[in-house]
Every structure is written in C-alpha cells, then in structure tokens.
C-alpha cells in the first residue's frame, strides 16, 4: 500500500505574513452594495393588501442600487441585520407551535459550516432551500389540518365558523411564529388567504393555507435585529433593539429555541430594555439543559469535533473506524458536559482535563485497558500521553487524513481556532511540485514538510504550522497515541510564540515537546483565552469570521475572571453592544 507520506504538503504553503486577528483592526461591515429591490404588483388574492410580486430585473452584478449605503462600524458595533434561522433553530421553532418537525427534518440540508462555527452571517435562502421551506410548510400545515379545530383552539377560543375569529387565530399564532405582533397590513393579507381557503373547502382548509403561508414568511424564517422602523435604514444611527428582538436574540443565543412564554410576556410588556431585565431573563434561560447543550456545542465547534464524521478512515488500517469515531464524538460531548458542570469550567481546565469518558469501543484509542461494555466510564488517560481536550482523540481524528495524521491541519487548527492567528492561503504560483523527489526516500514526514521552510514563500506560515502541527504527531489518524510511524521515531518538538502565559513575555518563543506540553502552554496562555472570547462572539452572536468586532471590555472581563466558559454568554448578554445595532 502506498503511504500517504506527504499529504497536503502544498495545501498550506503559506504566506510570508500570517494574520493575527486579535491585533488587527476590523473593517466595517456593509461595504457591499445590494441589488435594487424588486417590486411590482401581485396577482393573487392577497395582492390588495400591498403584496408585491418579485420584479424580474434582479440585481446588477456589482450590486448597485437599493438601500445599499455602506455603514461604518466602530469596534464592537454590530450592523442591523436579519439572520436566517439555522436548521436547529428552525426545527425547535416548529416544535413550539405544536407541530412535529420529524417528517421534514431529514430532508433539510445542514447549514454551511464555517470554520469553526455555522457561518450564520452567510445563511440565506436560495432556491433549493426556498423549495424545502415550501415543501415543509405543506407537510406541517397538513398536520395542523389533521388536528382540525383542536389546533385552531390552541390559538383562538372563538369558533372558526365565526369570520372574525380567523383574525384572532392568525394574530395569536403569528405572535408566536413571528416572535412579534402581526401588523394590520400583514393580518389583512393572511385573513384573505384564510377566507379564500375557507370558501373553497371549509375552515380547516383556510387554516391549512394560512399556516402554510406563515411558515414561509421571512418574519418567521429570519431573526431581525433592526430596532424600531422609525429609524431609517442606512442612516448610520445607533439604535436599540426592540424588546421583541431582544427576546429572540436572548432565546436563540442561549437555547437555540424561540422565546418561551415568560420571555414573550416580558417582550409584550416591553421589559427587555434595561440591563437588569435582560440579565434576569438570561440567568433563567442559562439554567436550562438547552443552555448547557449550547455551550457544549461551542466547544465542539471550537475544536472541530462536529466535522469528525466526514473524515473517512482507511478501514484496512483502522477497522470499525466509523463506529469508533462516532463513539469518540459522544465521548467528547460527555467530557465537555463534565467540565461545564464542574466547579471549574475554565479554559485552563479544558486544556488540562485528565480523565475522559471511555467505553469498550474507544478504550484502545485512549490507551486504557480492562474495559468492557458500551457504557461510558470516566478514566484517567496515561498522563504522559494525553492531557486536555486538545488531545482528545475526537479532535485529533478530525484533523487527520484517512490513513495518517495531518500535521499541517493540526497546526492550522491551533493557530486559527485557539490563538486566532489564521495562516494565509498559499501564495500565487507557489511551486510545490516534485518536492518529494528532492529528498531521500528515508526522509521522515517532518523532514519533507520542514523543507518548505527553506522556501521564502512558504516559510512565513510553515514555520509555525509545522512546529505546532508536528508536536501533535504523537496522535495517529484516529487519535491514538504513538511514538513512531513507519519512518521511525517521531520528532514532536514544538515551538510557539507570543502566548503571553504566566512568566512568558510578549513575543517570546517557547519550546516544548509533544501535545501534553502544548496543552499546558495553551492552558496558561492569555492569547488563547482572548481568542476563546473572540470565538464566543462569533458563536453566540453569529458574527462573520472576517468582520467580527468584539468588545474589549468583555474580553478583559473573561480573561480576568478566570476564563470561565460558562460566563461567556453572560458577558456577551451584558455587553453594551448586545442590544445596539447600527442601522
């Protein structure tokens, strides 16, 4: 069998100057001009209510026209926005109105996964997804119709034979689905749809049609954060979110679900404006199991575990690898919950975790003997081999090829995700050809990769990528500890600079050996803690990787407060920028 000795050598042949997010100025959002808005006259029943069919012109290629004025943002500010519900948000929102999303869940595409989290800023509705929403709405509205008047009665106590009652139903269901009151104009259109359906085939058909319509409305599908409509878009005004918007932001941020009854009640009373009001609701939501799940998901995303299943392993080298990887992911989640539920849910504790959830499927990977059965038990890993979630086999398996470890990917993961210093892309016309032929056949993988450092165009990033990546080469493609590969003993000496840990000065290069020592370096690194704070903004507020602005005060509070992961969402929700948007 051919060895994958040099996999992805050139993929990350890097730039002379790598980037460092934590010290880079942020550019403003909104520099792209949008196409002009479509408008026209609808031809359906509800057109009299002001419906506008979509114009045919679309946008110009460079997107000029429309409300496209660029918005200048100061550090920490967020642009007024509409972010589409992600898949989990959507399914949870369906459950909230008493319908069963299971029949349609499997047919929905997963959201685009940015590195490291769902790219919330880029979630939009293209044709395929619009059709998915339409198909789902038909199925779900059919469920409502099957329930008949019983479903109607959940939202309106009056009789559906009463013409005025339809409005009550629509307003009530709409308040929940849209997460804000239904406007008179919206109600007019929806009433017309209900009436037309009812005239055709009775009230249940009217209800079916109107549920179908509401489930496809952008008022349901998007979380808007635009503040009051009295503030003009493009004015550059810093405006506060409405209480309805704060309720949605809080709820989806903390629980990935729409506002519950108590939160909705507070929004109706406009009692989500002061910091105390917001924090009271946050504290309540943060105690729910869903909140713990969300923080677990943060760690999964940060360390790339949600991607594991996509890395297919060579079954000849790693038999039963699919089951093992799946079990490793479950182990990772258990370990994350174990940490978050502990008395010290800190970043340092994450990097210093010494015991892991293990069962008979994964025991061999962890190097633990004497286990049987599928139930997970907590066991200490050999302390010289494994320490912290960084060295968790689920993480190492994620950043591997099919048959071998992926040192460059691992180096990139540490730099980009944990230190917020993403390497650049390979430079234009970087020659990578025939590199293997220039070295003796006995060359180790590290020697081959380190040859890149001699090339000026590659050295800028590969010095760091290689030094960190190969220090993690003790873990094979499935994350099992090893000391040698087919070429001989592994050289896992590593170097990393400017960690700003205890006793280290800014700019200092620190040497270490192996993943255990790297984990300890990261555990004490102020840079890593600041990066976690930055990443949490991306995760909880759905901010884009490139344009993220973050609150310097929150970052300092997180680091100075012991970098407790369970405090991240709290710090964000108490940030002055939490409920402010530039419109």
């Amino acid at each position: 069998m051919r060895e994958t000795t040099f996999g992805v050598v050139a993929a990350l042949c890097g730039l002379l100057a790598c980037t460092a997010e934590l010290t880079s100025p942020k550019r403003g959002l909104g520099s792209v001009n949008g196409p002009s808005s479509a408008n026209g006259q609808g031809t359906g029943i509800a057109a009299t209510g002001g419906a506008a069919s979509v114009g045919a012109a679309g946008g110009t290629q460079n997107g000029t026209g429309g409300a496209s004025a660029p918005v200048d943002l100061k550090p920490g500010q967020i642009q007024a926005r509409a972010w589409r519900l992600n898949k989990l948000n959507y399914l949870n929102s369906i459950k909230q109105i008493g319908l069963n999303p299971d029949p349609i869940a499997a047919t929905f595409p997963d959201d685009v996964l940015g590195a490291p989290f769902i790219a919330s800023n880029s979630l939009n509705v293209q044709q395929v997804l619009a059709q998915k929403y339409a198909d789902a709405a038909e199925v779900l509205a059919g469920q409502a119709k099957t329930q008949g008047e019983a479903y109607f009665k959940q939202y309106a106590s009056c009789s559906w034979q009463d013409a005025a009652c339809a409005g009550t139903f629509i307003s009530s269901l709409g308040r929940t689905l849209y997460r804000r009151p239904v406007s008179p104009e919206q109600l007019t259109r929806l009433n017309a749809i209900f009436a037309a359906g009812k005239a055709l085939s009775g009230s249940e058909e009217g209800m079916r049609y109107v549920v179908q319509a509401m489930l496809q409305s952008p008022l349901f599908l998007y979380r808007t954060e635009v503040g009051p409509s009295s503030v003009a878009a493009g004015s550059g005004t810093l405006t506060s979110l409405t209480s309805f918007e704060v309720a949605s932001l809080l709820s989806y941020m903390v629980t990935d679900a729409p506002p519950d009854a108590e939160l909705s009640k507070a929004a109706d009373a406009d009692q989500l404006q002061s910091p105390a009001q917001i924090q009271a609701q946050f504290a309540r939501l943060n105690k729910t199991p869903a909140a713990a799940e969300k923080t677990t998901a943060f760690l999964e995303g940060l360390l790339g575990v949600n991607a594991t299943s996509n890395v297919v392993k060579d079954e000849t080298l790693y038999p039963n690898s699919v089951a093992i990887q799946s079990t490793l992911q479950a182990s990772f989640r258990l370990d994350a919950r174990y940490l978050l539920d502990s008395t010290d849910p800190s970043w340092s504790a994450v990097m210093r975790l010494s015991s892991f959830a293990v069962n008979s499927v994964t025991a061999n990977v962890f190097g633990i003997e004497g286990l049987s059965g599928m139930d997970f038990v907590r066991r200490d890993a050999p302390p010289t081999e494994r320490k912290g979630m960084l060295t968790h086999p689920a993480v190492m398996a994620s950043f591997s090829h099919a048959a071998e470890s992926a040192p460059v990917f691992r180096g990139k993961m540490v730099l980009a995700r944990l230190l917020c210093r993403p390497p650049g892309s390979p430079p234009a016309n970087a020659s990578t050809m025939l590199m293997a032929d220039q070295l003796p056949a006995t060359a180790t993988r590290r020697e081959v990769f380190d040859a890149l450092i001699a090339r000026p165009t590659c050295a800028g990033c590969h010095v760091s990528l290689n030094a960190i990546g190969f220090s993690l080469d003790n873990y094979d493609a499935l994350g099992k500890f090893r000391t040698a590969d087919s070429k001989g003993p592994l050289d896992v000496r590593g170097e990393v600079n400017s960690l700003r840990g205890e006793g280290s000065t800014d700019g200092a290069t620190e040497s270490y050996v192996g993943g255990v020592e790297l984990a300890e370096k990261l555990a004490g690194s102020k840079v890593a803690k600041e990066c976690v704070s930055l990443q949490s903004y991306r995760f909880y507020l759905g901010l884009p990787t490139s344009d993220v602005t973050f609150d310097l005060g929150t970052r300092a509070d997180f680091v100075d407060g012991g970098a407790q992961l369970t405090q991240l969402a709290s710090l964000i929700s108490s940030s002055p920028n939490f409920k402010e948007r530039v419109k």
Binding site: L113, L190, L219, G234, A403, N429, M435
Partner: protein
Amino acid sequence: MKRTSIDVMNPGLFLGRRGFLQLSGALSILLSPIVRSRIAEAEGSYPKRVIFLLTGSGHHTPAWGAQGTETNFQLKEILSELEKYKSKMIVTSGLDLISCANQPAGHERERAILTNAPSDQVGDNSSAEGASIDQLIASQIGMSTRLKSLEFAFSTYQNGFAYCSPCYSGPRQQIGLTEDMGEIFDRVFKGVDPNAQPVADTSGPKRALINKSILDNITADLVGVQKELTGEEYSKLDAHLSAIRAMEQGLQAGSVPSVQPACAIPSRPNGDQATRKAMEVFKIESDMVAAAIACDVTRVFTMQWGMEGSHSGGHWPEAAGSAYDNDCNHNISHLAGYSAQDYIDLSKLKARGVLTLCDALSAIPEGNGTVLDNTVIMWSSANRDGGHTSDNLPTVLIGSCGGYFSTGRFLEYQGENHAKLLLSIAEAAGASIGELGHLNDSKATSVLPRLKA
C-alpha cells in the same frame, strides 16, 4: 426510460404535488407571454444552452491542451480522451485569471473562476465579491424555463469548512451546489408522472390564486424586512426574493407544453455519491443534464466535479491512492506522494466524464444536428495545476452554441483575461452582460476575439 411530454409534468413547486395538476387552466390565463415565447422557439431556432463544468485542481500542464496550428492541431494526452469531439471543440491557451493575479490566493480561486471577482478574505470562509456569469446569464435567458439554472457537484464537500461554490447570485451570495443526486432529480423532475392525467377539478383556478397569494405574502414580507436593512444584509434578502421569483416562474412555466419531443425522464438515482465510482456519478449527472435540456427545464448549468483545495469529503475510487487517501483529488495535483502519471490519469478520468456529457447531449437530435450543437460546454479549472497557478488556465469549449463559436480550432492567446471568454459565452447564449468583474484593473468589458464563426 419513459418518454413523456412536459405538459404532464407536475413540478410541484411550492404547491406540492397536490395542487399542480389542477393548475394548467388557471395559469394559462396568467402566462400567455411565456407560452407565446416558447411556441415561437418551437417554430424557429433552438434554445441556446450553456454548461460550465469545473474540475478542481487543474491538470499536469505538459499533458494538457493541444499542439500544432489553429486548424491543424493534435490533442495532448488528457484531451485525447475527447478526440471524437475534436471538430466541435475549441482548445485555448494563454487565458489568465487576472482578478487573482495579485492575490495571495490558491484555493479561493474557485470563487473567481466564474465571477472574475476576488475573494472577500483569505481562507476557507471566503466569498466572491461579485455575481457569477452563470447566474447573470440565467437571469436573462433562464426566465422562460421552469428552473432558472441548475447547479450540482461531485466530491466538493470540504470537511468542516464551507462549500466552496463557484456560483454567486450577487456579492458574497454563494449558491451551494447540490451533491445529492436524488435531490437534483427531484428538483428537475419532481412530481413528474408520465401516466398522470389532468384532474378535472373546478377548484383548480381558485387554488392557483390562493397559492399565488402565498407567494405574494412572502414577497411582501420580504420587501418589508428588507427596507429595514442596508448593505450586504439588504443583499441577503435579494437572494430570497430571487428564489421566490424562481418559484413563481416554475409555476408559470410548468404548464407550458414541451417544445422538445425528446423529453424523457430517467429513473430517479440513489442520492448517495459515496458508494459510487466517479464515472458512475458523471454518467448519472450527464444524463440528468441531457434530460433537463430535452425537457427544457433549464438552459444554464454549472457542474463542479472536484474542488480546489484540500480535505474534500468526496472520493475518487478510480484515482490513485483513493483506497487510503480521501483527499487524493487534491493531493495528486500537488504530486504530494503521487507521480505525474497519477495526476494525468486523474485528469483523463475527468475527461472521460466530459466525454460522457458530450455523448449524452449528442444523443438527442435537434434540427439538423444534436443538442450539443446548440450548447456550449466550458470545461475549466480555477488553477492550472498543483502549483496554485492562475495563468494559462486549462479551458476548452465544446459545442458551437447554435453556430456562434467556430469550432475545431486551437486558439493560443497571450495573457488574455479569462473573463472575456465568459462574456463571449454569455453573448453566445443570447445574454447581454456588459462587463464582468469587481476590480477596475481586471474587469472584462469585451468578448474574447477570434472565437466567433
């Protein structure tokens, strides 16, 4: 394969299956312009179609392209797989992806190959700063068919990272390419029942109006939300508006009689690509393109067989190293542990996929020729080879697009902007795209010379 005409097709767009067969009477009132347009086409010339086929990771340069003169040339090893279509082909050299020339870009070029626009940032999450040519063409010639355009892929999923799509409806408005072949089939042929008879239901027109009202309601709400936004947030809603417009279009065009007697529906494929060889996928996707053309479901296609960059989840069972390297499409291109012949063989596999597509289109008679004659396939890659090289892109055209292109030639250019070729393809298809690009110094404002018949 069953033969059927498109008038019994039930696209099921937004209505689901239930409603659509009841619509033809109602919608014929609303849609007469499209009907007139389609009938006119049936009586005269044939529709022009464009297919953008991208196979990521380039080719081993010494084995790519042609040698000889413009009209007396020999295809090199990789393109020799397409020898039977040599007379319908234009082999190019010297076309550069100028928009990326000054960018430290490698794999991000996938965002530029159809947009001529640079990426908004470096790295896996990057997006193009402009719309892609396929979407621009589709916005002009795709409005009379049920689908404006169709996009799908093989082996493009990047583990843990975003889909690296070459298609953009606008700046940073990426269109994800579908790999699930069952989903592609559903999108093209959903609800098609060759044996279905129109339902005699007097409620049909009323239901049609209600369903139209649902779309109107979505649109009105979208416009309402959009007016509260600005910049790229505003543009984000445009993508949704376009999608709704496409659904309206689907409703309208779905009841139009077919102008293509060759319209036939293949069997629905299993969606899973992972269990198939690459050539099997190429064949299935080629057949679906041919069927979609025969039934005039759409006229603009973008296909991506393998992406630029690493860590792709798809596999290439026929390629060297595939047994143990799930990133072999990428690694082979870098000769990273692989030989030049491995790289050539992988490219020849892709060429055979292109051959399959050509064969599928050539099998459908149209006028005095075949569908391929009224189509142009642009086969290219966003990197010339594994060296992250953006000049001299490996690009060939196959098909004359109704006689626009003078084929059977080897055209050597000297550093021309690749985007000019994209404008030529647009013009060939009947779309008027004045310029393409984001940056002034790389913007294309004219078509590529020497291509026309």
